[in-house]
Point group: C2
Chain length 430, copies 2
């Protein structure tokens, strides 16, 4: 399991003009105490979002649930926003766009009426099951959409208790009350775990298993990184990564996350939420930007190379060297391009990543790279754990509460105010 990826931040680190071996010594004692506390808590299982990676006995139950769905339904709709959706999306996306899934999976993570009505009108509801995810059970968007689907099932005379499953904390809340009163089954959201940290729990894994992802291997990959961190936290990649981001943050307030694989597009978005919502507090934090290589070389590379030097770039480069169909030598000769001979796209995208790393480095942009093995479930699990740990460590270094999100509440409050006073309004102001 060792060596799922090679992490290299040496070039980026040189921007700080300090040696990796003495990084630990640069940390004030009171911060070190907090870091030690974090390590202890992770070790003793205080954070189930992390420690769950050492378990697998719950996976069988998830498989049974999914097997039952597959017998009865063709479509799964996951209703949920942010953390209730992005982790699952990251895992499902790993199978690739053209994977043959046993069911078609739709994530309803926005309240755009076009999308929601589109789903209700276009899917055969008889063949559709809805998983409604809200940690608190009070998320307005999730409640609204759940009610709309509830009604749509009713209108077609379908038994709602077969077509909806809830996933919320095991406490009295609006979603739970409603579903219980209609005998709709409810799964328990892990208690006290913020949505953005639930990817390794049933929240992320149920849709993943539907898509055919090996959940056990995801956890195994994650566990290998957690164990390596717990064995020697101050020599771990997650620790170095967090230090790098935090120490650079005054000069580099932007962090590009750029995996070279379509199958990691949603992983990138998951990371953006994890980092932004966990660390963007008390005036600190850096702005994570989700990108994908090689596509975004044609969108953002000009800015990265020639624009302000305000960015740390993280490249994830899976070993794709032998993947993809080859271009025939005959055709390469016809177009007169020598290096297209026998070229496969895996090699091309791999070399594009290398070229980008070189070009950015030469331009003085701090770049760190994860060269991974071929993109397997273990690798994805390892990357997930790496960045969950990096975020937790960065929280201590930034001295913020990694686990809450007070800034989101203000927007919700004002939305409610508008909703309360809007019932008499007929039109929008334009």
């Amino acid at each position: 399991m060792a060596n799922l990826y090679q992490y290299d931040d040496m070039v980026a680190l040189s921007t700080l003009s300090i040696n990796r071996n003495v990084l630990e010594d640069t940390i004030p004692n009171e911060v070190k105490e907090k870091l030690n506390q974090l390590v202890d808590d992770l070790e003793s299982g205080v954070f189930p979002a992390f420690s769950i990676s050492s378990r697998d006995e719950d996976i069988v139950g998830l498989h049974l649930l999914v097997e039952n769905w597959k017998k009865n339904f063709k479509n799964l709709i996951v209703i949920g926003v942010g953390g209730s959706s992005l982790g699952a999306q990251a895992l499902v996306n790993f199978k690739g766009k053209f994977a043959k899934n046993s069911m078609d999976i739709y994530f309803l993570d926005n309240v755009d009426p076009t999308t929601v009505d589109g789903l209700i009108q276009n899917l055969p509801l008889t063949e559709t099951v809805v998983l409604s995810v809200s940690k608190s059970g009070s998320t307005l968007e999730t409640m609204a959409q759940t009610l709309l689907f509830f009604e749509a099932f009713k209108v077609q005379g379908l038994p709602v208790e077969n077509h909806i499953v809830g996933l919320t904390e095991n406490k009295t809340n609006t979603l739970r009350n409603f579903l219980e009163s209609h005998n709709i089954p409810i799964l328990n959201h892990p208690e006290g775990v913020g949505g953005r940290f639930t990817v390794l729990t049933l929240v992320g894994l149920i849709p993943a298993i539907v898509a055919g992802v090996d959940a056990v291997k995801i956890r195994q990959g994650a566990l290998s990184v957690l164990e390596s961190f717990l064995n020697s936290p101050y020599q771990s990649d997650s620790f170095y990564g967090a230090l790098l981001s935090v120490y650079l943050s005054e000069e580099k307030n932007i962090q590009y996350m750029m995996p070279y694989s379509d199958r990691l597009r949603k992983f990138s978005e998951w990371f953006v939420q994890l980092w932004a919502e966990s660390l963007g507090k008390d005036g600190v934090g850096t702005t994570p930007v989700s990108a994908v290589g090689s596509t975004d070389q044609h969108s953002a590379l000009q800015l990265l190379m020639d624009g302000p030097k305000d960015k740390l770039v993280t490249l994830i480069v899976p070993d794709s060297f032998d993947e993809g169909s080859q271009i025939s030598s005959e055709l390469a000769n016809q177009v007169g391009i020598e290096h297209l001979k026998g070229l496969n796209l895996g090699k091309l995208i791999y070399h594009q990543a290398q070229g980008t790393a070189d070009a950015l480095t030469a331009a003085g942009v701090p770049v760190r790279t994860f060269y991974t093995q071929k993109l397997t479930e273990e690798v994805l699990g390892a990357l997930i754990m790496h960045f969950m740990l990096e975020t937790a460590v960065a929280g201590v270094l930034f001295d913020v509460n990694t686990w809450d999100q007070p800034g989101v509440e203000e927007g919700k409050k004002r939305t409610l105010e508008y909703l309360m006073t809007s019932h008499n309004e007929k039109k929008a102001p334009v």
Copy 2:
């Protein structure tokens, strides 16, 4: 046509402590001369990417092409990266995820082998036509993918000249030479227009027409904004918008583009490329970030509200007040939430945008808003022209060459070097 959107940057502008009415006077004379030159050039049609919005006689030809495809094919694959793809994606995305298109459209804008092989293996090639787009005709990714599809058609014994169409400049180049030698038809890419500015030309419009977008109305919406700009450039929203971004750029080096509609997700990505690749030069430019409301309220809002005050936020809020199915009063009563009574999702997302604008403003984050009419083709065209003009004006204010992209070339050069030396390598370094 007037009033497709109301642009409001007053709150954001107050961050600069200056009056909108005297903004023009803050511009040095030599910069004003360059701005006047830009206006003259736009007026006299030097930039076909802009002036094409006043034309419509070419649209009929595009429709004929598409009608012919629809008779023979079920799938359209658009091969092309960056500007050769994002404009078209923005227009197609406007129809929404569940629009009934006459053909299924796939954009191959990355060289991930999983995606490309997935398409080749999963689509019935007999029912598939490929549009291969490269301005220069030398883009390595586009060439490689075109050759792979060429071969796939050949292997199945299909007449390639019916299944591939090229779109490249009317000059000798690799793509053109290859296609011509196989009698494959080629359309002319507008000459001298960088890919990221081609959305209103056939590059953007052909896939748009396939998706059922009204191309004439897109151009009309764009033209209305162009005319308004040319009538009084120094009182135009595009001018104010550019000034705001540029004047704030030292303190606010990040710009969030956050439309409140799933149908503008790709518009947001199109803007990111337009802005980043046009302005990220000579150490200036700001970093555009693509987001979508309300989804990203649960991802980025915490960071926007509580994190560093280094961002300008742009909200696009289409009038969706009356859109979407309503939640019945009975269900709202059951869950005991008064403001869900009769709520439709269009109203919810609209109020979320208002709530976010208020909350950010109260937190001292500069926000500008586009409150638009209902999301029609005219509105989308107007937004497209607004940001093309804003980018052009910002280029003058930043004193960079808006139209080139030298920073992208270095990465390409290094990729080639790796490709040249990789033929003997067997493995990636991990």
